[in-house]
């Protein structure tokens, strides 16, 4: 992220802080959205015979979220090994 030197005009660092907070939030939202779409594809019957999730779908969803979270962790570790951390 570089560049947080000291004698800048005051407004700049503040902009940067707001920008980073927005970037961080966007990242989490995107993670959640991809996880949601992916687990729907993997677990939910697309014939839509009813509007409830049945028991099999519900437990598939729980496990899918858990596994997605673990995969996220593994990939995160690999990426942060190669690069400077955020």
């Amino acid at each position: 992220m570089a560049a947080s030197s000291s004698n800048l005009p005051e407004g700049v660092d503040k902009e940067q802080a707001f920008g980073m907070a927005a970037t961080e939030m966007e990242y989490r939202v995107e993670l959640f959205n991809r996880l949601t779409q992916t687990c729907f594809n993997k677990c939910v019957d697309k014939r839509y015979k009813e509007s409830e999730l049945n028991m099999g779908e519900n437990s598939c969803i729980d496990r899918c979220v858990s596994k997605y979270w673990l995969v996220n962790g593994i990939v995160g570790q690999m990426l942060s090994a190669g690069r400077p951390p955020m």
């Binding site: 966007e26 959640f32 949601t36 839509y48 999730l53």
Partner: protein, 84 residues
């Protein structure tokens, strides 16, 4: 907490806007998904009854799914996950 009042307001506004944008995107994605899964016949301009039923079930199912994922996701974010 040490933030001036003006910055707190601005941060809250930003969060509101990101959430609004996010729900609108989710809405768009549900429409696309349920259309794709339920509508395949283009011999008429209007929806057939069973297409309509399919769309409603699809959207409801997706919303329930999304809420369940949200709960599980929040648990994991708080490190409250249990083993197997």
């Amino acid at each position: 907490d040490g933030l001036p009042e003006e910055d707190k307001v601005r941060m809250a506004t930003m969060i509101d806007q990101l959430q609004m944008r996010d729900s609108l995107r989710m809405y768009n994605s549900v429409v696309e998904r349920c259309f794709n899964d339920c509508v395949d016949n283009f011999s008429r301009k209007s929806l057939q009854k069973q297409e309509e039923t399919c769309v409603m079930r699809c959207a409801e199912k997706f919303l329930k799914h999304s809420m369940r994922v949200g709960m599980r996701f929040a648990e994991l974010n708080q490190g409250a996950a249990t083993q197997d």
